[in-house]
Amino acid sequence: MLKSLRRPVIALAAIAALAVPAAVQAHRVWMIASSTVLSGDEAWVTIDAAVGNELFYFDHVALRGDFAVTAPDGSAVEVQNEHTGRLRTTFDAHLEQQGTYRVAMVREGAMGSYMLNGERQRLPRGLKAAEVADALPEGATDVQVIENNIRTELYVTLGQPSETVFTPTGKGIELVPVTHPNDLYAGEEATFLFLLNGEPAANIDVLVVPGGSRYRDNQGQMDLTTDAEGKVRITWPEAGRYWIELDHGGRGGAPSEDGGPRSRAAYTATFEVLPL
């Protein structure tokens, strides 16, 4: 009885996995700060980090990883009082310099599979791109690797906004402000320049979703695309927090031009828009 049931269930699950649209699987990764525009000689901010569907509610799991806070002068700010609960991670940062800080979690690595003795094997989880060659056993064939660079960021400014933390590293998708992300106001148009591996990220979809979806019947999202220069213009319909996502290559990765591994680069950030 049980055995006969198992087969159709497996078959159904396989079909379901194919049929489920990407949006349903795609939990959103986000961080929010207690404040993004601050005044005074020094200030504290607390940050929540989570993975979930609704913005910005703790409805799935905590975001885990290495959080890095960078000061306007490029130095690392200590992540303090970090705690990971079931539904969120929270930590504090003490801002002691005037200017703009970046709070980031960058996940870089490689995932993939290979054929060995007629069976497909997965590469171990948490592998760095440079470690792939060593992780492949003797006789592995049909190697499929996707190199990932996934950034989750937010920005916080004490006093006058500065741009030093936006100096690109040339890896993954990065934001270069045209409009400063801590100078956003309802009804105004902001322009952001995005880079992909240091080059203008042209013609990439930009998803903009306002927070507070629990109290709305619709997502209210904006589907935009970067132009040939990698720029996107966003007019904020109202004050609040907005979540932004750019994804190049998607889960399957984009093929590389020189026949190397496929690659995926993604960027998510939370921006705060203030009432004018």
Partner: protein
């Protein structure tokens, strides 16, 4: 000591030279700001910023009222709640700001007088200006009033308005 005093006199003399562009005397801007008495469970005196805008020119902050006597300059933490002031000028200033910032004020009508070319008040050339008054209160609201006026350089100009929550009657008179 003597040297310092001489320097002081020199600076004052230079300043006077700048103000005395013509023989007709100084520009005076008189300002009246009413802070309404509010019946609320928790009342804090509002932070208030007053600045002058002219198209194409850097806005000039005339006055900022905030908790300037808190230990460790703690009162500056809430200056950002004067959102437009913070964006327009505040975040580029350091506090306390000499001749500009002062303590918060109690409900009532507060009168201020500024002289062109003196302290925070620039000497105004003829043109269209907007005086902006923004108030933000802890555990309260925020309100911003814009008073546009045209200054032709000689005759008196006035402007007035009334706020609806954090500000009461506000008015200005400029004359020379």
């Amino acid at each position: 000591m003597t040297q310092l005093r001489i320097t002081g006199i020199t600076a004052a003399a230079l300043g006077a030279g700048g103000v005395l562009a013509g023989p007709a005397g100084a520009q005076t801007l008189d300002l009246s700001i009413e802070i309404p008495r509010l019946r609320v469970a928790e009342y804090h005196r509002p932070y208030v910023a007053v600045w002058l805008e002219k198209e194409g020119a850097t806005p000039r902050t005339l006055s900022v009222w905030y908790d300037d006597d808190m230990r460790g300059n703690e009162g500056t933490k809430w200056l950002r709640d004067l959102r437009q002031f913070w964006r327009t000028a505040g975040r580029a200033m350091s506090f306390p700001a000499d001749g500009i910032s002062s303590a918060t004020k109690a409900p009532g009508t507060h009168r201020m007088s500024f002289t062109g070319g003196n302290g925070s008040m620039p000497r105004l050339s003829p043109g269209n200006y907007t005086l902006v008054i923004e108030a933000a209160r802890e555990v309260g609201g925020r309100e911003l009033i814009r008073l546009p006026f045209t200054w032709n350089g000689s005759s008196t100009a006035t402007a007035s308005a009334r706020g609806s929550n954090e500000l009461g009657a506000v008015s200005l008179t400029i004359r020379r």
